[in-house]
C-alpha cells in the first residue's frame, strides 16, 4: 500500500478547498498503486498476449547491413534472427548481431540528454531535458552560423548508410559547413584505394567465396569481421560441404592465426608486410614471367616472407589448377605501411589467375554516401584543424574515435581544445565522455532508417529499417535530432527540412525510388510498395555490374621491415571476433563470450609463440609490459601455438576508459600504443606496423578461460580418425 504521507495529504486538502473535485483528488492519490491486468477492449493489431510478432529490420551492429527479424512479445524485443529473404544474411546471424538486444536494454544506456559536470573526459554528467539540450546546442550552432562561422562547425560520424546520409548533407548545407566526415576504424580504406588503382573504381567487388574452389586469403579474417561475416560464413559452409560440388580448399597467409586461419587447410605464417610479394610471385609464376611481373620472383618472396620457395610454387600450382580460384586481402596485410600495395598485388593475382570476383551493380540508394567517407588522412586534418583552433563546435555521432585513433595522433587533446562538443551517443564512451552535451539517440531497434549493404552481394538491394519496439527511454531518433536542430537554426534552414520526423523524410525518399520504378511494378501503388518492402525487409533488383577492367599495374610492396634493436617484435593487434573494433565490449553477452581461439573472457591478453615464451621464461598468465616507441601497456601472456616467434599479437576491443559497467577500465587497448605509421599509398592507419619490446613485470594473473584440455589426448573426440589415427580422410573428392 503506497499511502500518501501527512504533508501531501494536507497539501491536497488545501488545494481542494480552492475548488471542486478535492474529494476526487484525495481519493485518487491515496489509492493503492495496484497494477491490474485488464485486457484491451480493442487490442492493437499486433498485440496478442502470448503470441509473438516478428518485424523485419536491419542490423546495425556492424556495417555489413544484414537483414534481421526481431521477435516481439507483449511489446518487448525477445530475439534477433536473420531475415531469410535478405540476400546478405539469408536467415542467418552472428554473435554480435544477436547481442543487438543488449544495446536496446542496456542498463547503462543514457535515458535522457546529459550535460557535462566534471572535467572533459571525467565521464560525470547530469541529466537535462530535451528542451534544454536542444536549446543549448541549437543556440550555439545558430550563433556561429549568424556570425558567418558556419564552416567552423564539424560533424564526425561513424558509417552512415542509406538516406540518413542525405539528411545530414542537408543539415550541413544549412550550417554552411563542408566539414562532414564519416570515420570508421574497420572501414576497408586501403582495399578501396587498391581497387581504385586496379579497377579505377573506389568500390568493393563481390567476392564469390561460396563458389570458389580455391580460396587464398592474405590476412583477411572473412569468418570474423572482414566486411560481411554472416554472408561469408554461409559462403564458407557452401565452399566446404555444399551439395553437389567438390570441397574447396582454403589457404590463409598471415603471421598470427585468425579465426579464418584456424579454419583453413593450410596456415602459412609469412612475415608481416611480405604478403604483397607472395601474391606477386604467384602471379608472376602463373604469367610465366610476362606481364611486367618478372621482378617478383619466388626466391624474393621466399626470402622476404620466410616461407619456402616450394610452398609458394605450390600455391601457384593450386591457383592455376583450380576452376574458380579467389584471392582476398585484409587484416594485417592491408593495414601495414604497404597495405595498399599488398591489396593491389592481390588484385593483380586475381586478374592474372582469373579470380572469382564480380563487380557490384550500382546500389538502389546511397550511391552518394561514400562521398563523405573519411580516410585516416582526413581525420588527421581534422585533428590539425581542431588543434589550430579553427573548429568552434564539434558534433560526434555514433563513433568512438578517442578509443580507435592511437594516442600518438593527439585526438584527445585536439577535442579538448574545441570550445563546444556535442555527442549523439547512447552511452558514455571514451569519446562522448569528452562532450559538453550528450544527445541520446534511439537504438537501431527503435528507429527508422534504411540501408544499401556495402559491400553488395552482386545484386542491387536496399532495405528499410523500422522500429520494432516503442522507445525504452526518453530518447530521439538520430534523424529527428538532426531535423529539430536544423529547424532551430533559422527559417531558411527549416525550409530545407520540411519533414516532421525521420519517418516522413524516409517515406519521401522511398517515394522517389518508387516513382523511378512505378512502370515496372504491376500497378502497385506507393502504399503497397512501401508495405511490401517493410514486410520483406528488403528490395532487390537483378542488375549486372560492369565488368572489372584492370586499369593499372602493380605498386611495389617493398621489402618488409625486420624488427631489430630495442623493439624486436612485430606488434599485431587484431580485430576481435567478439568485440569487433571494440564496439561490442560494453555488451554483457559479448563480455561473457569466450574468444574462439583462446577461450578467454573478461580480459585482454597478448599471444606469444611457445618458443618465444620458453626463451623468455614466460607462462600463461604472466603479466608483461609491451612497449613501443609511443607508449606501453600491460597484459597477461597466453602461449599461442599459431603465431610467428617474432610477433606479439593482441586483440582489439578492451581497454575502454568509459563504456558502461561491463567494459570500463577492463584490460588494455593495443591501439593506444601504436606509432604514427600510416599506409604510404592511401594514408590509412597502419595498425599492424608498430614494433615493440616485451618484458616481464613479475606478476601473474589468473586468466579466466573456458578451455579444458586443449588437446584430444587419444580420446577420439574429433571422430574415429582423430589424433593418433593415421588419417581422417585422405581424399575429399567423394564428398558431396
Amino acid at each position: 500500500m503506497s499511502a500518501i504521507d501527512r504533508r501531501d495529504f494536507l497539501k491536497l486538502v488545501g488545494a481542494g478547498t480552492a475548488g471542486a473535485g478535492a474529494g476526487f483528488l484525495v481519493k485518487e492519490s491515496s489509492r493503492d498503486r495496484r497494477e491490474q491486468y485488464i485486457p484491451y477492449v480493442a487490442t492493437p493489431e499486433d498485440y496478442a498476449p502470448g503470441i509473438a510478432t516478428w518485424y523485419k529490420t536491419v542490423c546495425r551492429q556492424c556495417n555489413a547491413g544484414c537483414g534481421i527479424q526481431v521477435r516481439i512479445r507483449e511489446g518487448r524485443a525477445k530475439k534477433i534472427e536473420g531475415n531469410a529473404m535478405h540476400p546478405v544474411s539469408q536467415g542467418r546471424s552472428c554473435a554480435l548481431g544477436q547481442s543487438g538486444l543488449n544495446v536496446l536494454y542496456h542498463p547503462d544506456r543514457l535515458r535522457t540528454p546529459q550535460q557535462r559536470r566534471g572535467d572533459r573526459g571525467s565521464g560525470s554528467f547530469a541529466p537535462i531535458s530535451w528542451e534544454q539540450a536542444y536549446t543549448s546546442v541549437a543556440e550555439r550552432l545558430a550563433s556561429l552560423r549568424r556570425a558567418g562561422k558556419g564552416e567552423r562547425i564539424a560533424v564526425l560520424t561513424g558509417t552512415v548508410q542509406g538516406h540518413m546520409h542525405d539528411l545530414l548533407e542537408i543539415f550541413m548545407r544549412g550550417l554552411g559547413s563542408e566539414r562532414y566526415l564519416q570515420y570508421d576504424f574497420s572501414s576497408p580504406e586501403s582495399l578501396l584505394a587498391a581497387n581504385k588503382t586496379t579497377y579505377g573504381r573506389e568500390e568493393l567487388p563481390y567476392y564469390d567465396i561460396a563458389n570458389a574452389d580455391f580460396l587464398l586469403s592474405f590476412g583477411a579474417d572473412y569468418l570474423s569481421h572482414w566486411l560481411s561475416p554472416v554472408h561469408h560464413g554461409m559462403a564458407y559452409g557452401n565452399l566446404r560441404q555444399g551439395a553437389g560440388r567438390k570441397r574447396g580448399d582454403v589457404v590463409q597467409v598471415e603471421a598470427r592465426m585468425s579465426l579464418s586461419g584456424a579454419n583453413a587447410d593450410k596456415w602459412l605464417p609469412a612475415r608481416p608486410g611480405s604478403e604483397g610479394l607472395i601474391a606477386l610471385a604467384i602471379a608472376n609464376k602463373i604469367a610465366g614471367g610476362s606481364g611486367g611481373l618478372s621482378a617478383y620472383t619466388v626466391a624474393r618472396a621466399a626470402s622476404a616472407s620466410g616461407l619456402t620457395a616450394e610452398t609458394i610454387e605450390e600455391l601457384a600450382v593450386a591457383f592455376t589448377t583450380a576452376d574458380k580460384p579467389l584471392a582476398i586481402a585484409g587484416g594485417p596485410a592491408t593495414h601495414s605501411s604497404n597495405g595498399t600495395a599488398n591489396a593491389v598485388a592481390v588484385n593483380v593475382l586475381n586478374a592474372v589467375g582469373g579470380g572469382a570476383l564480380v563487380a557490384n551493380p550500382s546500389p538502389v540508394i546511397g550511391a552518394s554516401a561514400t562521398n563523405r567517407r573519411a580516410g585516416f588522412a582526413d581525420i588527421r586534418k581534422l585533428i590539425a584543424d581542431m588543434s589550430a583552433g579553427s573548429i568552434d563546435a564539434l558534433i560526434i555521432a555514433d563513433t568512438n574515435p578517442v578509443f580507435s585513433v592511437p594516442d600518438q595522433f593527439g585526438l584527445r587533446a585536439a577535442i579538448e581544445s574545441v570550445p563546444f562538443v556535442t555527442a549523439i551517443s547512447p552511452f558514455v564512451d571514451d569519446t562522448s565522455a569528452m562532450a559538453d552535451i550528450i544527445l541520446t539517440p534511439h537504438s537501431a531497434l527503435e528507429s527508422w532508417g534504411d540501408d544499401a549493404p556495402q559491400p553488395g552481394v552482386g545484386l542491387s538491394t536496399a532495405s528499410i529499417a523500422q522500429p520494432v519496439v516503442a522507445p525504452v527511454h526518453d530518447t530521439r531518433a538520430l534523424g529527428d535530432i538532426i531535423i529539430e536542430l536544423g529547424r532551430r537554426l533559422d527559417n531558411n534552414v527549416a525550409t530545407t527540412l520540411p519533414w516532421d520526423t525521420t519517418y516522413d523524410f524516409l517515406r519521401a525518399q522511398w517515394r522517389k525510388i518508387y516513382d523511378a520504378r512505378a512502370g515496372s511494378l504491376d500497378g502497385m501503388n506507393f502504399e503497397e510498395f512501401w508495405n511490401s518492402v517493410l514486410q520483406a525487409g528488403v528490395w532487390a533488383e537483378e542488375r549486372k555490374g560492369p565488368a572489372l577492367a584492370v586499369t593499372s599495374g602493380v605498386i611495389d610492396p617493398g621489402t618488409p621491415v625486420i624488427p631489430d634493436g630495442e623493439f624486436s617484435f612485430h606488434f599485431q593487434p587484431y580485430i576481435s571476433p567478439i568485440f569487433a573494433d571494440g564496439r561490442g565490449a560494453n555488451l554483457p553477452w559479448q563480455q561473457e563470450l569466450p574468444d574462439p581461439l583462446t577461450g578467454v573472457v573478461y580480459n585482454s591478453w597478448i599471444e606469444l609463440n611457445p618458443a618465444t615464451a620458453k626463451e623468455m621464461k614466460l607462462k600463461d598468465g604472466d603479466v608483461v609490459e609491451v612497449s613501443s616507441a609511443s607508449g606501453s601497456l600491460r597484459a597477461p601472456v597466453i602461449i599461442y601455438p599459431a603465431v610467428r616467434p617474432d610477433v606479439v599479437a593482441m586483440p582489439i576491443g578492451q581497454g575502454h576508459q568509459h563504456y558502461g559497467r561491463y567494459a570500463s577500465k577492463r584490460g588494455a587497448n593495443p591501439l593506444a600504443i601504436l606509432n604514427d605509421t600510416v599506409d604510404r599509398d592511401s594514408g590509412a592507419l597502419a595498425w599492424c606496423a608498430t614494433t615493440v619490446s616485451i618484458k616481464s613485470v613479475g606478476e601473474r594473473v589468473a586468466l579466466i578461460r573456458n578451455s579444458g584440455t586443449p588437446r584430444e589426448l587419444g580420446r577420439s573426440i574429433l571422430g574415429p580418425y582423430g589424433e593418433g589415427g593415421k588419417t581422417r580422410h585422405e581424399s575429399d573428392d567423394d564428398h558431396g
Binding site: 536494454y105 554461409m234 605464417p269 561473457e592 569466450p594 573472457v601 616467434p645 579444458g708 589424433e723
Partner: protein
C-alpha cells in the same frame, strides 16, 4: 548393442511408448563449423541464460548450454585447430538419468533428456555423471541488470539457485511446432524443417541440421548417413542423439 537399447526403452515403460513419437536429433558438420560462436549467443538469448559475472566465471560456474570447444593438433608452424560445438547430447542411455535421486531428469516421449526444475534438489550428481560436461548448476539466483530483464523469453522459465539446467533442444519451439501441427489437422505430425533450435537457426555456415531421426527421409537422417559420421565418446555407450561429421583434413 541394439538389443540393449530395446531393453532400455522397454524398461522405461510404463508411461512411455516403446517407440518415441519423435526422436529429435542433430547432425553437426565439423567441416562446416567455423567456431564463430553465433550459436552460443543465440542460445543465451533464447533460453534466458544468465550472465554469471567475472568472479563466478573464474570458478567455472558459467552457464552456456552450448559452447565451442577447440582442439589443437601439431606444433608451430603446423599447428591446427578444430572447433567443436558441444551441447547436451540427449543420450538415449543417459548416465545423468540413472544418477538423479529424485527423478528430476527423465526421458520424454520425444527421446529428449529433460530436466524438471522444480523437482531438482541440486545434488549435482547428474553433472558428475555426464561425460560431456554439459550440465550447468545455478550457484546463485542470478540477476539481470535492469532493464535487461525485459529481453527474457517468456516461453522459458528463469531458473533459480540450487537447480541444474542444460540444453533442451529448445523444447519451447518443439512444443509450439507440435501445437501448430495439431491445429493443422491431417496426421498432426510436425513436418521436417519446421523446427529450428536457436543455435541451428543462427549458424551462418549451416553446420547444424536438426530433425526427427524416426523419419528416414528427414534431412537429419540423410545427413547422418555421411561416411564421416561418428558420435562423441561412442564407446561409453550413451547412444547420443547428436551425430557429428568429422572435419576433412587435407594431406600433402
Amino acid at each position: 548393442m541394439a538389443g540393449i537399447v530395446e531393453k532400455w526403452k522397454k524398461f522405461r515403460e510404463p508411461g512411455y511408448p516403446g517407440k518415441f513419437d519423435y526422436h529429435w536429433g542433430m547432425v553437426i558438420d565439423l567441416d562446416r563449423c567455423s567456431g564463430c560462436e553465433a550459436c552460443v549467443v543465440a542460445c543465451q538469448a533464447e533460453n534466458n541464460l544468465p550472465i554469471v559475472g567475472e568472479k563466478q566465471f573464474a570458478l567455472n560456474r558459467e552457464i552456456k548450454w552450448i559452447r565451442i570447444e577447440r582442439y589443437w593438433q601439431g606444433e608451430y608452424p603446423d599447428a591446427k585447430v578444430t572447433f567443436m560445438p558441444m551441447l547436451c547430447q540427449q543420450c538415449d542411455q543417459a548416465p545423468c538419468e540413472m544418477a538423479c535421486p529424485v527423478f528430476a531428469t527423465y526421458h520424454n516421449q520425444d527421446g529428449l533428456n529433460t530436466q524438471i526444475y522444480n523437482r531438482c534438489i541440486g545434488t549435482r550428481t547428474c553433472a558428475v555423471y555426464c561425460p560431456y560436461e554439459v550440465r550447468y548448476f545455478n550457484w546463485y539466483t542470478f540477476k539481470w541488470d535492469e532493464p535487461l530483464e525485459q529481453q527474457l523469453n517468456p516461453d522459458v522459465s528463469v531458473r533459480e539457485k540450487g537447480v541444474m539446467e542444460k540444453c533442451t533442444f529448445c523444447i519451447q519451439r518443439i512444443r509450439q511446432a507440435k501445437d501448430h501441427a495439431k491445429d493443422r489437422g491431417g496426421d498432426q505430425r510436425v513436418r521436417d524443417g519446421e523446427i529450428s533450435p536457436a543455435c541451428v537457426q543462427a549458424c551462418p555456415t549451416e553446420a547444424i541440421v536438426f530433425g526427427d531421426f524416426n523419419d528416414p527421409d528427414s534431412a537429419v537422417s540423410k545427413a547422418a548417413e555421411d561416411k564421416r559420421n561418428y558420435r562423441v565418446l561412442e564407446k561409453l555407450n550413451t547412444t547420443p542423439s547428436i551425430v557429428y561429421l568429422s572435419k576433412v583434413e587435407q594431406h600433402g
